[in-house]
Amino acid sequence: SAVISQKPSRDICQRGTSLTIQCQVDSQVTMMFWYRQQPGQSLTLIATANQGSEATYESGFVIDKFPISRPNLTFSTLTVSNMSPEDSSIYLCSVGTSGRNEQFFGPGTRLTVL
């Protein structure tokens, strides 16, 4: 399985600011995904990060709020913009390879917005 790291592991931010979360994989992968896990809740898919094209967002999530970059096959970033306390969550990236039928998750970034 792929080794996935995320930075930062946690952060406390002020309302109205932005935070960029990095996801690094130790091997090239086809697909990278970003999920949100709100306190005590399940995981919700935010978007699929496509290499060389714009990310594909799920219903309820927009690019202005969650801009994503995918400059190569091993790296992606998610920015949480103009944060409010409702954005306090764990943000996880995951990776998958077409045909492998498995998806592996990073350790997550625990974000608290005050």
């Binding site: 995981l43 995951s94 045909g99 498995e102 592996f104």
Partner: protein, 117 residues
């Protein structure tokens, strides 16, 4: 739209007894089904998957799951529970249109499994 239901918020089992964590799904096509486990302050770990073939799939740590198409279920099971199995378990589904690894997952709300010594 696809969805996953985990009807139990919490399952309590005595150590050494068999355990079952329930999951039902709804998709408009052939599902790819997964179980993940989340330990406190740790990431999500892959347990097992059903893509096609044998309805009983075996995974990590002695867990297995049975795919039942007629009941649209994918219950997680283990013959003999360990205290260390105590964690939060998530069932997930994708349509697998591009191969399960290339599709975002829809997760159930999770089930807390508590194994009592």
């Amino acid at each position: 739209a696809q969805s996953v239901a985990q009807p139990e918020d919490q399952v309590n089992v005595a150590e050494g007894n068999p355990l079952t964590v329930k999951c039902t799904y709804s998709v408009s096509g052939n599902p790819y089904l997964f179980w993940y486990v989340q330990y406190p302050n740790r990431g999500l770990q892959f347990l097992l998957k059903y893509i096609t073939g044998d309805n009983l799939v075996k995974g990590s740590y002695g867990f297995e799951a049975e795919f039942n198409k007629s009941q649209t279920s994918f219950h997680l099971k283990k013959p003999s529970a360990l205290v260390s199995d105590s964690a939060l378990y998530f069932c997930a589904v994708s349509l697998g249109a591009s191969g399960g690894g290339a599709d975002g997952l829809t997760f159930g709300k999770g089930t807390h499994l508590i194994i009592q010594p």
